[in-house]
Symmetry: C2
Subunit: 222 residues, 2 copies
DNA sequence: TGATTCCCCCTTACGTTGTAAGGTGAACCA
DNA sequence: TGGTTCACCTTACAACGTAAGGGGGAATCA
């Protein structure tokens, strides 16, 4: 029956990513992953030393989808903007990845090389190493395509009005008048293309431009 | 002996926070927590429905340490800056909390009230609701006292040179020349008060001011 | 006072998890 | 041909969260 195709670290990791994409992160157990590969759980340990290594490998696999844009001579802001938005599309394909990346302790080596390119872009644009360093920290996780926000799209936005009774809603409005007014104002002004009331793509780009423009001002101020 | 002091949700949560502060998040199991309280594991289920509720409660307990500053009439930037730095001190007391908060799905109600005060500060300073909304997203997790960065203090910074062989270090320098130069430059310029080469307090304040100043410009531009 | 109820904690047990220890057959190399 | 190595398997264990139900002491009610 078919060819005798032995496992490999890469095949295991690819299957793991596919599994998590399909059934979510909690579904990634050694036994289920092995079953997907037509194998017993302990067989995975020949290719990976432990579950932690599996998770690290999954992170590494997802991050490898982020390709570094070649340096063009143009505006550094435009370049990094495109780079980060490109990374963001990778994260949208694997919505569970930001959480996993944030919880993983070590940073894979490929990420260092990736960040090196960003620093290169900055210094080529006239940034001092000192300011480039600050900029890296200020970007936070944006170079990898996500901003770690407290209000996840699922938690906020959708759940605001649906299942709340009218009395609760009134109490809520009294307890937090400003947020209530803000939501009302935003819903009123929205109207057109916005999907819900929190377009994470728009928020991402807004924050990104805020940082890029702020850094540009610091750059020329020297 | 002593007095017959029954458990309560609050006592359980307080013990849980103490346990995690002492032994780390993975040590928080129902059995260990019960043992700390001189009780059997299943007894906890009388006060909490499940482990998830325990974790939510722990998050809630930590966040309750963050007190909202009373609104003063002064500069909004100064006010929010103090507020966020005050929140940061809470997180420094519980370094595991950011990770737990980020991984928790729902946002406790107290946080909504807290964010309401921030929106109030912004609109009182002349922000439109629209811009205040954007600002909230841009702040990310800073109102709670932390910025989710990829390079954790433990991962980067310290581990850069200690255990690397000279050959590896040279290869690393070749593979990522910009970061290498940046580190060298920063170490050279540091000298004085900075602890290591990544003062997270300084980075936090830098990013915070970058956002505050950028938002101020957008505010007056309208 | 005696009976009942409720509160608070306990014992036992189950399924699932990651993984240590060691076995097994095929392929390969001497 | 006999040993070594590879790739996978079987078995087993400790620790996890938690479902099910028991028990005893205090409070409440007749």
């Amino acid at each position: 029956m078919a060819t005798r195709n032995p496992l490999s670290r890469d095949r295991v990791l690819a299957a793991a990513v596919a599994l998590v994409d399909r059934d979510g992160l909690p579904a990634l157990t050694m036994r289920r992953l092995a079953a997907d590969l037509g194998v017993e759980a302990m067989s995975l340990y020949y290719h990976l030393p432990a579950k932690k290594a599996l998770l690290d490998g999954v992170v590494e696999t997802v991050l490898s989808e982020i390709r570094a844009l070649p340096a063009d001579g143009g505006d550094w802001r435009r370049h990094l903007r495109e780079q980060f938005l490109l990374a963001r599309r990778v994260m949208l394909r694997h919505p569970w990845a930001p959480g996993l990346i944030a919880s993983s302790t070590s940073v894979p080596p490929t990420v260092y090389a990736y960040y090196d390119g960003i620093v290169g872009t900055l210094v080529a644009a006239g940034f001092s190493y000192h300011l480039a360093h600050r900029a890296l920290h200020a970007f936070g996780s944006m170079p990898l395509g996500f901003a770690q926000e407290i209000f996840s799209p699922a938690a906020a936005g959708g759940d605001f009005e649906p299942e709340a009774a009218e009395a609760e809603l009134a109490a809520m409005a009294e307890a937090m008048p400003h947020i209530t007014a803000m939501v009302a104002s935003e819903i009123h002004d929205a109207g057109e293309a916005t999907l819900g009331w929190c377009d994470s793509q728009t928020e991402f780009e807004f924050t990104l431009d805020l940082l890029l423009n702020g850094l540009e001002q610091l750059r020329v101020a020297v």
